[in-house]
Symmetry: C2
Subunit: 516 residues, 2 copies
Amino acid sequence: MIHDPMRPSDSIGHTDVSPRETPGSIGPRGDMPPEEFREWGGATVEWIARYLEEVGELPVMSRVAPGDIRAALPTHPPESGEAFSDILDDFERVIVPGITHWNHPSFHGYFAVTGSGPGILGEMLAAALNVNGMVWRSSPAATELEEHVLDWVRQLLGLPEGFVGAIQDTASTSSLVALAAARHRAYPEAREKGLFALSRGCIYASEEAHSSIEKAGIVLGLGRDAVRKIEVDSEFRMRPEVLRRAVLSDRAQGIRPVAVVATVGTTSTASADPVSEIADVADELGLWLHVDAAYAGAAAMVPELRPAFRGWERAASIVMNPHKWLFTPVDCSVLLTRFPDEMKGSVALTPEYLRTRETGVATNLMDYGVALGRRFRALKLWFVLRYFGADGIRERIRYHVALAQGLSERMRAEAGWQVMAPVLFSTVAFRFAPAGVAPEDQDALNLELLESVNASGTAFLSHTRLRGRVALRLSIGNLRTREHHIERTWAFLNDFAAAERGVAGPPSSRRPAPPR
Amino acid sequence: MIHDPMRPSDSIGHTDVSPRETPGSIGPRGDMPPEEFREWGGATVEWIARYLEEVGELPVMSRVAPGDIRAALPTHPPESGEAFSDILDDFERVIVPGITHWNHPSFHGYFAVTGSGPGILGEMLAAALNVNGMVWRSSPAATELEEHVLDWVRQLLGLPEGFVGAIQDTASTSSLVALAAARHRAYPEAREKGLFALSRGCIYASEEAHSSIEKAGIVLGLGRDAVRKIEVDSEFRMRPEVLRRAVLSDRAQGIRPVAVVATVGTTSTASADPVSEIADVADELGLWLHVDAAYAGAAAMVPELRPAFRGWERAASIVMNPHKWLFTPVDCSVLLTRFPDEMKGSVALTPEYLRTRETGVATNLMDYGVALGRRFRALKLWFVLRYFGADGIRERIRYHVALAQGLSERMRAEAGWQVMAPVLFSTVAFRFAPAGVAPEDQDALNLELLESVNASGTAFLSHTRLRGRVALRLSIGNLRTREHHIERTWAFLNDFAAAERGVAGPPSSRRPAPPR
């Protein structure tokens, strides 16, 4: 490291404090001493390495009951500092049993994810540097690496030049910022005057769009009703002609079209809206097109999966989350836009204390969002992209898709199981639907199956409703998931089905006993 | 770890992929192998330990020019994966010189911070667990530890029972969520219908309030003009009688009072608004009182500093940032409220796919904010509170305050220097104001001094404007800062002043040369 030869100075005589420094430590008023950090840092790395090796042997879903964790913690904070060994012991004893293991190869709930080794190492360094990249000057590398890595992501996604943006914490925030920009375009006066005196406006999204779009409508003051839910087709894709009619009908009533959100990889079934046709409507009727590809976006890196994204290069903004299917620890959501000036214009503010000589010359990433403080999230993403490489990323995504398609084929071939939607990516929406059982009873049966598999510790699934009926979801995104894990889960599901078909008596008595 | 004795199953015969696993590694489609993670994890810990030992010898502000970092990075992402050793080498070679070192003991810009050893170790484990605590079930310990640690923080701050909340990324987000709740109280119909047809409403904050309050006004659709800036007194404190008159005057014109934001520890001078008197006005006139104590909040843990917070227990919501002055890595902002139902009512949404058996029984922290995904931020905060203990935290905060007060006494005693505001906490706002120099020229001189000290690498300061005049800010919050660091910075400032007084010629020729 660079040595700064500046002279030591005399102490400030009349402050009434003295630091009482002891040799070899930073002192009683300082940080954890370096030797202690080395010791516990080494122990923590070893703990992580073993955890990641052995996580597949843990029950996936935590078995604690509500209140258990808090009951195991002292009511009051400690008055005196505690040894780090005690803290780490309590972490293992109290916290780990309360963890639902997203790292488990049989975690298939929501969207399955992987933090990955290089991602974790990137987070370690980001936490150590602890910079706040709000303005260029406050850490130039944090700003420039973020801009650069976002351009790498853009290239990998096959998007044209001109898409730039910023990393946000989550897709909810990315979509909020995108829709704030859309609102700004539709209501330029609202930034100063608010929405009070203005005519109503609407955001359009499919019935299958994520709840964050409605939340953005609420937060932005447009209201939940302003989010129009457009009907989907038999494969859960927004129907562009219905969208067009809805916008025209609204416009005829004086309602301002603000934005349309197309989703590629919906939460319930991972269906893909027809972006190109939606872009036609957006262009014709003057809507800001935002593409929510939070989960599936990474799949655009794989040439044979890219057709599902056709037309997204015409979007005004796109969100895709490296913390979902690009092996990056939570949180890391990439927001790209072709209209950075409008996006910044919608929310940016530069008070005097954040003005620097570089303002107007270099990028100040704070201008792209709500949060002023910005963690150095680009570091972990850079590590992940370099460690796996474009080819390694494609290979892993392809494998997940093949696993999901293999499972869906098995399900389709087996009587009593329904695959509820085409498997475009790595998520299977399915349902146990034995013949002769009424749909409502099938719903109850599937919720029972969900609780059964999750309580067993074998696998973790989540559920949704499709056209009013319960469906289960099995999403694959973990780098530890192998065929035998999928097979074990499939065997569990089949055991449940066999018990259901073959055995009489109340449901609770005829399940296989959960493993210890 | 718990061993799950479940039987291994046959492989899925007809999927066309095979994982090609090699013994001792997770396989070609997997994560970084455990042995490699151990090796590079150890190297990363050693890098961090040395960095924290030696950071005081680095120039505080990065010396790169805009564009330098990007120019050093390849235009395209790598096609093949790269060795982690190469990635770490590039991190040191390209990224570290582009870092402005917030860890440096002479970093005094914005608000100075410390990630701290236990905080970094907590982040490592959070990145490894990689859970998303959006709902209780998705990791019970993430939810319950967050609730518990927030209650510890509440106790340490001396707040009564009844304040609960959630950790947000930054104070900007915390204040947005708090003001969304205030908007919900003032306009219960807006959640569904938006603000379009409603009568105008206002948020009140002092002239010295943070820009995030205006940003929240913009994002929430109230508009920037809806944030009324209330005059401050000679010590930069909101004048409650002016607030009261403003609200009454607005109300007489049909404007709805939404919220008042009292700041304890303003950004420019760390002044404290009279919260108790503002609470009187809020109670009388029906305003949601939000207290922004993002920086200074931690000081409420120190009994003799608590009077500055008098009355904040009457607030509807409070934000304080452990990532500012509570030794926790960025990001970690604590948002507390006495009205959790209203806060959740303002933004919460539970789509079917996030409904669980525990919904309504256990807390789902996603209900407290915009972001659905939630990192396990409580872990690092728990580590920090336990490692330092209440007493250790108080000792460290007291020391920072003593250093700041010592410096301000020196400045007050020295001709040509002005301390611009009382030093309540650990931030000194000051100005070089040599006699006989016009105020505008003093402004230029202070901006020159700012660039000079920052370019020198000796220390990093930031600036602001107070009543239109430039002031410099020196904030202390790093656990590595000692008297001799402050003294060295003070010596630099005095050398600048001496050169300014004694030497003729253009300013650029008479500065001490920056160190190499």
